[in-house]
Symmetry: D2
Subunit: 345 residues, 4 copies
């Protein structure tokens, strides 16, 4: 339920109503806007009727939210949210490219790859230290050492960095090293992890699960927002279908659909979404065209030697070409490519 207050309502009026909402066992929300204050009440909305808020002198209107997700919905928050990821904006009129290797493997690999992606136009660095792998016998990531290398590289390059967190117990550790968390597709419905990330205020890139409907993705984001963290970035990375020629089926329909349903920004990962190096650039351009706010791309200085996802990792030159080709599509979409702070000066 959304309660829009009249223009003359004071903070004391708002507090009075919020207390009544809390008194019914619902979750009260205070959302001040530029012209009006909006209050929210989350939980079983039927009990709210007993308050008869429609007839409160300071209430302008009361509106039910019909979607199963609330804080995430555009009904609650009509304007696009812009998330700040270590100085880089995601959402709004800028188009943002995050790139780097699937896994952090060594100082040299990160430095070489990081320099390549920065010079090609990436404005944030990715790299996994904790790798969820289907087989227990596959490379599982460097762990804490990987986090250290990632941070060092990011600092040296002057870029913010993103890395995956796979367990509640690691949230604090990852928080110390990264500018944003990535919550992987396999953990999209690891609700405890979502709640722990909701306790943070750092951005969370939430990847769509391979068998998750868009509504499931939005409900997963709701878990994070409901804990108080508004800094969520959704990420489409392909779904599981019968098609075996590609690793996943990139569901770009989801992008304009998500844009209509929610104010939360959404980016696309064409590397996992295709699983084939040669398809990454065309699908990156398609992501721009259908309205995505950014890209998450795997690049490796030597893909043939990568410890994970080598087949879908771009060579540095391929990434540079992709970025060159992307510019015209970003312009056609009425956006501008996010430029690193260093170059803006």
């Amino acid at each position: 339920m959304i309660i829009v207050l009249k223009a003359e309502a004071t903070r004391a009026d708002a507090d009075e109503i919020l207390e009544k909402i809390a008194g019914l066992g619902l979750n009260p929300l205070y959302m001040p806007g530029t012209e009006r204050v909006v209050l929210g009440a989350l939980g079983d909305e039927r009990v709210l009727e007993t308050l008869q808020l429609e007839s409160h002198p300071m209430v302008e209107s009361v509106q039910r939210i019909l979607t199963p997700y609330k804080l995430v919905s555009r009904e609650m928050h009509p304007h696009d949210s812009v998330v700040d990821l270590g100085g880089v904006s995601i959402g709004g009129s800028q188009f943002t490219v995050i790139a780097g290797p699937c896994s952090v493997e060594s100082r040299e690999q990160m430095r070489e790859t990081g320099e390549a992606v920065r010079s090609a136009g990436a404005v944030a660095l990715r790299g996994g230290a904790f790798k969820p792998r289907s087989s227990p016998y596959s490379f599982q990531g460097l762990g804490r050492e990987g986090l250290e290398i990632l941070r060092e590289t990011a600092d040296a390059l002057g870029l913010p960095c993103v890395t995956e967190v796979v367990e509640v117990a690691d949230v604090e550790l990852v928080d110390r090293y990264a500018d944003a968390f990535q919550c992987g597709a396999r953990n999209m419905q690891n609700f405890r992890l979502l709640q722990a990330l909701g306790q943070s205020r750092k951005p969370v890139i939430l990847k769509r699960g391979a068998a998750a409907r868009v509504e499931d993705l939005l409900l997963a984001a709701e878990y994070i927002l409901a804990e108080g963290n508004p800094n969520v970035i959704l990420c489409e990375r392909g779904i599981t279908t019968f098609e075996t020629a590609t690793r996943n089926t990139l569901d770009l329909n989801a992008i304009p659909l998500i844009k209509r349903k929610t104010h939360v920004p959404v980016i696309v990962d064409p590397s996992h979404g295709t699983g084939i190096r040669d398809l990454v650039a065309p699908m990156a351009a398609a992501a721009v065209a259908c309205g995505a706010d950014g890209l998450l791309i795997e690049v490796h200085c030597r893909p043939d030697q990568a410890l994970s996802d080598g087949k879908q990792s771009l060579y540095p030159e391929q990434f540079a070409q992709l970025m060159q080709g992307l510019a015209a599509f970003v312009a056609a979409a009425g956006k501008s490519l996010h430029v690193p702070a260093t170059e803006r000066r």
Copy 2:
């Protein structure tokens, strides 16, 4: 198997080899190029070894085609094919938009819709006279009367037209009225229909089946080419997945994948691919961006009164906006929007 002849080989040399190929029960193909003549042999390639063509004095090289489809593959035909659809080119450097209602409903509806799509930039008209419908109690199309209306409207507008054929026995009738056949998703593996369409030389827009892998689509196209009709246009129109928020999942990964595997042009139908009017324009732009050669879009002068597919049909104004927005993406893709012959003069 592809047999490349030496530059000095004569037609007689070619015929001699083609006869030997036919003598083994294989299907011989004569494919003259600008510099070299290439011969093909389709069937069980193992028996070819008995001919020892590698050591034939007029043979330069012999190459096995590893894909299950042959005539359709880029190995057989490295350059993009361009198909002529009643004066409109599909494939190559132009981007072609075909539009019109799902079903032909009346003279007025066709005329009104046809004028709207032509003035917005569509260069060919679509409209169904035979409608395959899940329920026997749904509108099944106007049949022959629908074909007549479609032809009349197309002639009046000076546009070529496309319509679906659902049965071998109708091929001749449809051929009399339309400039191109459409073979629908449900008939993608109606092999007898494919063979009948292969006997024609008119273009065939072959839509991907809802559960068909890209390889199945290419094999279905092979049925048409193997009968002698090279004028095939593939069409991605969404696949069946678990996602229920959209009617189908538009698999744009398939576009760059198809472009790598085959020389046959490929277009996208974002109307069926999404099933939601508001998603058509962004997905049309995405189709341009990832390399499609054109679009097939449902437009209706009064979508709320449409007898079929109203929810996914664009209002004329929406289609005009889509076309305006598309221009920049087509330019970004390095192509040019196909302009009607009348305007080119």
Copy 3:
């Protein structure tokens, strides 16, 4: 709409009402029962209201059918239908096994395989003469010669036979040779073919399409019944999913679901449903257990030399073992194994 007449209503009363229904452009149905006559009206039910049949003196009740399929629904026909396939019953309290090779390859192969399946307990013979194949270069069946061999073998063995028909133009030919038509998964929505089969009165085994929802299957059956042929046998043969370890995913959930929705019998094809010889027997037993009325199983005298589907074809000994193991499950399901007429004497 179903119109139940009063007990005293005469045939003339029924005819009067049927004429009125026809006069509105709806499809009238006369369905005499043992105690009451029931009339049906198919089409846009809203126009029926003008007749005010509820107040007709000879009408007991008028009932709307809420499912999109009508004749197929249990609402219209509460008791299980039993279909006679050349003297063999399908549906009701008997469990019926149809077996034979995927394709008719030769007189010897059919005779050897046919004798093996008959002696193991199959009561009808299958064998394909027209084979829909993904690739134009695969074995396409023997055509008319295959039909002749099938008929000869069936006659010699005293079994009825079933074979696939893939095209409207072949319906008459196949009708001359076979006791029942099979409509394959790829043709489940070839509506013209369904209508042609609806013109016949011979049984039609209608296979579920690989991407067809159960509702789509029931609507496809409705096409056949709506043309006047009540002898439809549904067949679950596996759907397309992301699982690649099996050829298809046999959806046995569909069996009890179908049993609740329709009176039409339903059988299971565990050969296509799994694609793996070793899984056929356990899944055949599972089909019995969840309520199927019969099985369609591929058996070949020499599976390793089969021209199609060898991997999923049982060796004769395996089929004999399957039938032995099946008996106890059929008894547990409260049914009896259909015994050939010859043995019943």
Copy 4:
């Protein structure tokens, strides 16, 4: 790699070889059998070649395991494993039924439901205290209080109990109350949780993820076994497909497939596998018929008031009927229904 020692090999011989394996950075395994001792070496098998174990005087043979999973494979362990779940056997010649409500809601609900399922023949009790729910606003389970109620009820009824664990930090707590862990479908690839469960020796019921291939399920089980816990029970509970008439598509093909690939027992959850109360009994029978080792079924004393999964929960009478009907299928499968210890006396 499996290393089979000669009959005369001593423990000292085994230790010598195990040390060499460990020295190469591989994971050494000691698996004594009744006639021969078998050693295992997990990790990058190529380095093992340097040991030339084939020529070691006490080694009889060395065998490579070709599947990506090792400990789980039948190659490593040809005989069926039987897991002891608080005195109840799962696997082998007995068929075991675990039943109870989706969620623990109250002492009364557990007691009433528990008595009903015990008297109908269930030999273990299920009930969720930590509920992973798609929406943050749905009932999330009673937590620790739920565990206490479950334990009390189980003790009072003399049944072992099973409950879900959703987070590494809860493993110790759940371990105190339950006889077995359940790892839910959404956590099948929560690898940290799998590793934590591998540190325990209590049985783990590992449910297949909604988009997980059978191979992914076996690799997930491998994570648990690789940590030293051999007591894994796999559970098929339906996969995500395009079919919307049922909640999930129960993939019974997976049962005989799993039985061929692994020695680990496998049970079926027809409640989640169908999502429809009326389909549970027929699919339970089908699970028996295709070779499952047991069932996990949701029963609630008042399904219409259940806080979760009411639609798929059986009424106590329905469960009693299911158990009665099951007996004949269990006998047909050559197994015997597991009888509670108390009744065996």
